[in-house]
Symmetry: C2
Subunit: 219 residues, 2 copies
């Protein structure tokens, strides 16, 4: 297929992408006392910002948490939510509390990701306005995640927090929604499988179970 002047990727380049996608993990164990070089962080954030967004609205905002007491306050907010989730889980509470679910205090860099207040973008989101803003923000996070893995850095998406409280802690304006606390930094090793599978919490589905033809056909 002729691609005119467009970049044509080789099989080797394609395989590199698949290797990175397969090696990416949701990390919660980080080496403490580490840093991420400025150049490395810049490359990762540039990749995030190259994500697609509906109507080119780019609704992602990244807050780099550098203040130590702010980080500690956020860590305590997450601790609180972990306790509340444990209570809500009842049956699996003790098993849940054995899992390590975040690396807020240890990770080299902590980045809060906020879905910005609605800017009125209509193109492509008349029927799904909030959904498309969230999805665009998530695409940026996935780019960020893959870019981090390619730097051999771990990244964990922590969603265990009260979003209203976190928004206040970060001085977010009305209408802004924190959706992620990203823990980023060096790790001793990457989990071989998703941590929730390694620990016996849950198994993933096979691809055929989520793929249908023409009509929904879930068993």
């Amino acid at each position: 297929m002729p691609q005119s002047d467009s970049i044509h990727f080789s099989a080797a380049e394609r395989e590199t992408l698949h290797k990175i996608i397969a090696a990416r993990r949701d990390m919660r164990h980080f080496l403490p006392g580490q840093t991420v070089d400025k150049d490395v962080l810049e490359r990762i954030m540039t990749a995030a910002h190259m994500a697609p967004s509906v109507g080119l609205m780019q609704p992602w905002r990244f807050i780099h948490i550098r203040n130590k007491s702010l980080r500690e306050n956020i860590a305590q907010l997450v601790d609180k939510e972990i306790q509340q989730t444990a209570n809500a889980l009842s049956e699996r509470k003790s098993e849940f509390l054995k899992l390590k679910l975040e690396g807020i205090r240890e990770c080299a860099e902590l980045i809060a990701v906020i879905r910005a207040p609605d800017d009125g973008t209509m193109l492509g989101r008349r029927t799904l306005p909030e959904e498309m803003a969230l999805c665009s923000t998530a695409c940026a996070i996935q780019n960020l995640w893959l870019a981090a893995r390619a730097e051999n850095l771990g990244l964990g998406w922590v969603s265990l927090f009260n979003p209203d409280t976190l928004a206040k802690q970060l001085n977010c304006p009305k209408g802004a929604l924190p959706i992620a606390l990203l823990c980023l930094g060096p790790v001793k090793a990457f989990y071989e499988k998703p941590m929730l599978t390694e620990t016996g919490w849950r198994e993933g589905k096979t691809l055929d179970r989520v793929s249908f033809t023409d009509y929904w056909a879930e068993e």
Copy 2:
């Protein structure tokens, strides 16, 4: 930094990822009458399914539209929404109607992506249940998108549809939400910049405008 047995990526591999991320575009112009090889599609869908998901819920469902009349019905649904968006835009209506916004009829493969009904996953989504299901589904789409680009195939995320009507057309169960019609296939060339920028519809922001330290600081 020692990485134990984990895969260590080289600078060249990292650069390949960045090249793919930078070359990815939201495509609406496809070469008609084309197909995507089964092996290629399998690789792309496998990459999608390797996405992260909160609590390992894997809320994405992929419906491959193969029935021609079903595809035509979906195309008409999108035509209708484009008209309704045009009416809602009022001032920029004529400019909007000149944009090519989808390639539903021409693309080689059409894939509907559905956010599955809530499976009750609590871990990581007690406070943001719908948001985290949507974000996980979007991460799968971003993987899919990058994998498509690495195969030198275009992909466009069409969100111009009434989700309730599309859910009915695809026999989706109650609680399932269609969030994307993905047009996939060979293209003549990839846009050099986002199509909305190339056509003068909208410029993107620079990274510094979406990055803050410690607290929200948008101008």
